[in-house]
């Protein structure tokens, strides 16, 4: 059982990554990865919310009527996110100002619905919690990679600090404005999927 739990936790970070293999949560990956900082914030928020939504749905799973299960999941997630954002607004205002843009994105993130529907509806709370944390971290990992590339090449900064030396610019180097546009997130994401697929032959379709 311990081995199975370990797999539940580690698989989404590696070979069963929610973004690159299950192709979930792409929309928010485009929106928040122009800079590294929002990518990290979004990654952490989604990890926490998926983990707790998974636990709650897992506890309720035997009572949920089959025909309205998606709505029930959505209500639970929306309520959870709203409560968390209200609490942050009251006690950690700076964090909540930073997160305000993401609240809507977290609720509509398909990773949440995907994990609730595919995992939490069939498994116990502890496994669901591990699955949520694993998938959240897997999502955060991809977001951070994409955000890193886009901010470095698009603005020449990382987390807002200049990292490319001035002499680069004097030698004629220009920031790539295209990197800041949403399509580049898709292209970088595609490159990550490409690398992962060529290293893992199992993922390739016959």
């Amino acid at each position: 059982m311990a081995k199975k739990n370990k797999e539940t936790f580690l698989n989404p970070i590696g070979i069963n990554n929610p973004v690159t293999v299950q192709v979930l949560g792409i929309c928010s990956a485009l929106a928040v990865t122009a800079k590294l900082e929002p990518a990290i914030v979004m990654g952490i928020s989604v990890t926490i919310i998926v983990a707790f939504a998974n636990v709650i749905i897992s506890l309720m799973r035997n009572t949920i009527p089959n025909r309205i299960r998606i709505i029930v999941q959505l209500v639970v997630v929306a309520a959870l996110v709203t409560v968390v954002s209200e609490v942050l607004k009251a006690f950690a205002y700076d964090v909540s100002v930073q997160l305000s843009v993401y609240v809507g994105l977290i609720i509509t993130n398909c990773i949440l619905m995907g994990r609730l529907e595919a995992f939490a509806m069939q498994n116990g709370p502890w496994e669901s919690f591990l699955d949520g944390v694993g998938n959240g971290l897997g999502y955060a990992k991809i977001l951070v990679i994409v955000g890193f590339v886009r901010e470095l090449l698009g603005s020449g900064t990382l987390l807002g600090f200049k990292v490319l030396p001035q002499c680069f610019y004097e030698a004629g180097y220009l920031n790539n404005g295209l990197m800041l546009m949403p399509p580049m997130a898709l292209i970088i994401l595609a490159c990550i999927i490409w690398v992962q697929r060529s290293r893992n032959k199992d993922l390739q379709e016959k």
Partner: protein, 260 residues
């Protein structure tokens, strides 16, 4: 393990066992015609009544929880909003509110929050802080012995509201500092208006030539009149234009006051 029950859909024969029989001993129907009868005690979670009651109860519980959190936390949140507003005003005066309690710093620097009318006359010396965009509010501040005027500005960006504070020197025309923020502009593009790099570009620009507001944000690299114009954000054109329109629209209403 308890045995399961299977009912033949053709004749109604009930079979007990781990799986359905290959053929029905009564009517000869194949195994596919058998359906499992759930023998669980309690509710049938698929019945209409259960679904309706479940949905109703869930919605009521969630509504109660949300209403409760909202009303419990409201006073804390309003206090935070007021503190944050003070921080933003201080930020336009280039005072870092992180250094101390924003409320004390605000008391220390801001002398008056007066309300004026369109003719530039002062209606009330104080009380402007709690007014929204419907009143013309001017904050009078004293920084290093010099009088500064802070004017709140409101406008629209690409996705939602943008707002800010513009502080002027005592000639009421030269920009001392600015603060801009936004509700939901694109990170990396329009959202850059909230960075100090962008806000510093406004310093020592002139607001107007005496008749109309000339302070503008123009397309990046297209500054022709550096006395009034500021470089916009490349890729954030609509937000930059929004800032420009906001400055024109709101500061325009203050023209009479600024010329006094």
């Amino acid at each position: 393990m308890a045995t399961k029950k299977f009912r033949c859909k053709v004749c109604g024969y009930v079979h007990e066992g781990d799986k359905a029989p290959d053929v029905c001993p009564v009517c000869g129907a194949p195994a596919s015609e058998f359906e499992e009868i759930s023998d669980k005690k309690g509710f049938d979670t698929n019945s209409n009544n259960y679904t309706l009651i479940y949905a109703t109860v869930l919605v009521i519980i969630v509504a109660l929880v949300l209403a409760l959190t909202s009303s419990l936390l409201k006073s804390f949140q309003e206090e935070n909003v007021r503190l944050d507003k003070k921080k933003q005003i201080l930020s336009s005066l280039k005072i870092d509110a992180k250094a101390g309690d924003p409320a004390t710093l605000y008391e220390q620097y801001i002398k008056n929050d007066m309300i004026i009318d369109a003719e530039g006359n002062v209606i009330a010396e104080n009380g402007g802080f709690d007014k929204g965009s419907e009143a013309l509010v001017v904050y009078v501040a004293e920084v290093d012995g010099q009088t500064k005027y802070v004017i709140p500005v409101y406008g629209a960006g690409l996705w939602g509201a943008i707002w800010g504070y513009v502080s002027l020197n005592d000639d009421k025309n030269t920009v001392y500092g600015t603060y801009f923020s936004h509700a939901s502009e694109t990170p990396g593009l329009g959202a850059e208006i909230a960075t100090s790099d962008f806000q510093q570009k406004f310093e020592s620009k002139k607001v107007s030539d005496g008749n109309e507001v000339k302070l503008s944000v123009v397309k990046n690299g297209k500054v022709q009149n550096p006395e009034y114009e500021v470089d916009g954000i490349s890729g954030g054109t609509i937000t930059s234009t929004g800032v420009s329109n906001m400055l024109h629209g709101v500061l325009g209403q203050y023209t009479k006051f600024l010329n006094k």
